[in-house]
């Protein structure tokens, strides 16, 4: 449904939407600050994982922190603030504007969240 807008005949009855369908929404497009993980300093204490509002801390076997999912990360900076080893630093997104394409092609989350932190 994220492509062409559906006609009324295509709508599921009852206002129904399907479970976890929002995982195509690229909330990372709101980000104005970017957390950078230094895996050398990270001790996988998971303080960032448990406090991340956007489930963006990626973990692997045994809860080892592997990275930060930029598709969803909104750049709130909580991960860096709670990190006991200074393994996460925050840099402005403008530092990365040379990167080829800011979007990974996910569905747009709208613009509202971009304004948070700028008010």
């Amino acid at each position: 449904m994220s492509g062409g807008a559906p006609c009324w005949q295509d709508i599921l009855p009852g206002t129904v939407t399907l479970g976890e369908s929002s995982r195509v929404v690229e909330t990372g497009l709101w980000r104005s600050l970017r957390p950078i993980l230094d895996v050398e300093k990270c001790v996988s204490c998971l303080k960032c994982w448990v406090q991340c509002p956007d489930m963006s801390i990626q973990t692997g076997e045994g809860g080892a922190v592997q990275g930060i999912d930029m598709f969803f990360c909104k750049g709130c900076g909580i991960c860096a603030a709670v990190c006991p080893t200074g393994a996460i630093s925050i840099r402005p997104e403008s530092d990365f504007q040379d990167e080829a394409d800011a979007s990974s092609g996910g569905a747009s989350p709208g613009k509202v969240g971009e304004l948070v932190g700028q008010l």
Binding site: A5, W8, I11, L12, P13, G14, V16, T17, G19
Partner: protein, 416 residues
């Protein structure tokens, strides 16, 4: 099926009983054995949840019965249970219905097939416990089906029909089964009940399309929807209502084969050759039918249309029943201050497209507010007004004490 009565076993035999509209609805609920009932007391529908509580206490039903703290919570719990996949019933009246108002469109949008015993009572203020239709009429745009019953038998039969209609895959729309407070709800009359087994077979079990409780196939209900999608969702919902007439015909035929009792969306009484017709709803239709008989004995071709299904409104049927008549009076049991009363507005609207075949004058009357009785003499006066080609431009009030004689507006004659 009705012809096989001779071979029916004891538990399949229909039984006749003297009972009331409330008790008939409660008995239908016992036989339907819904999964969940959530209800709150309010006169005059209270007897329904009271009686049903006895069924629960005596183990006669398997229902989870939620004794909520308000009507708002009653209908909300019904919605929660219905989207979960359960078969759900409740009942209420008057200000209880008013308190539920917010949730009715939500139930309809969720395609939650709740069956609701609505015992019509005046919507305060001033507070009045007797019948008029001012509680259900404000809900006519809520997306619910509305069926108005003339007597307790019809209440019982309609409760069974409503379950099938509401839960039908092409409909999935909640239903109000309305009856007149005290007049129908509390007066005792003979009612024939189907056997428990026949009811069970007739209503079957609900097959929900997207039950919330299916944790292996999770869905979300009640999204936030922008204007990009809202219109399509609403139109999709309306299609359920659009399918009602077709589906209803099949289901009512099926029930008729069990009971011998047939219920059309319109109950047309001696209208085929009638010159003058009164359109009315619910219990007061009996008075109109009696008066029509008497007038016919005197050579006046009088008839009665009782509108049983108000939502969806049987506009085509009304149009064909009333086209070519010399005069039509619509008797509403609720007012629309500043506008045309609900039933009169529908009837006029239905007749508008058939104007090219001849204009049918339609006059508007308001009667019975706060439970005031409608007498045969009142009805006779209405018919006589039609015969005298007396068409008021505004609403006239029946049985109202009025220094000017009872008429409203510039050209009413006040003689009604």
């Amino acid at each position: 099926m009705a012809s096989s009565n001779a071979v029916l076993s004891e538990n399949k035999r229909p039984r006749g009983e003297m009972t009331s509209g409330n008790m008939a609805f409660a008995e239908a609920m016992r036989q339907i054995n819904p999964d969940v009932v959530a209800a709150y007391p309010i006169t005059p529908s209270t007897e329904i949840p009271m009686k049903f509580a006895e069924f629960v206490a005596d183990g006669l039903v398997d229902t989870e019965y939620i004794t909520v703290e308000s009507e708002h919570s009653a209908i909300t719990a019904c919605v929660g249970a219905s989207v979960s996949g359960a078969r759900v019933m409740t009942a209420s009246s008057a200000n209880g219905v008013g308190l539920m108002h917010e949730i009715f469109p939500i139930a309809a949008a969720f395609r939650a097939p709740i069956v609701f015993g609505l015992v019509n009572r005046t919507l305060g203020a001033p507070i009045n416990i007797n019948c008029d239709h001012s509680d259900s009429m404000p809900e006519r745009d809520s997306g619910w089906i509305q069926i108005y019953c003339e007597d307790a038998q019809e209440v019982y039969d309609s409760a069974l029909l409503a379950i099938r209609l509401a839960e039908h895959r092409d409909v999935l729309t909640p239903v109000f089964v309305c009856q007149d407070g005290f007049i129908t709800s509390h007066c005792y009359e003979a009612v024939e009940f189907l056997s428990d087994e026949d009811v069970r077979e007739f209503v079957g079990t609900r097959e929900a399309r997207y039950p919330l409780l299916d944790v292996d196939n999770p869905v979300s209900y009640g999204s936030f929807v922008t204007s990009e999608y809202y219109f399509e969702i609403k139109r999709n919902q309306i299609e359920g209502m659009n399918n009602v007439m077709r589906v209803y015909g099949d289901i009512s035929n099926e029930l008729a084969s069990l009971t011998g009792r047939e219920y059309q969306p319109l109950d047309c009484y001696r209208t085929d050759d009638a010159d003058y017709v009164i359109v009315i709803m619910s219990s007061a239709a009996g008075v109109v039918k009696d008066v029509a008989d008497e007038l016919r004995a005197g050579g006046v071709k009088a008839g009665c249309v009782r509108v049983r299904m108000f939502r969806p409104f049987p506009a085509k049927e009304i149009s064909s029943a009333l086209s070519g008549k010399k005069g039509v009076a619509v008797l509403d049991r609720s007012a629309s201050p500043g506008g045309v009363s609900p039933l009169a507005a529908e009837v006029r609207s239905a007749l508008y497209m058939s104007c090219r075949y001849g204009f049918v004058p339609v006059s508007e009357f308001i009667y019975g507010l706060g439970g005031r009785d409608l007498f045969p003499s009142d009805v006779e006066r209405v018919f006589k007004g039609l015969m005298a080609e007396d068409y008021s431009s505004g609403a006239s009030y029946i049985g109202l004490r009025d220094k000017n004689g009872g008429a409203e507006g510039g050209d009413g004659d006040g003689s009604r």
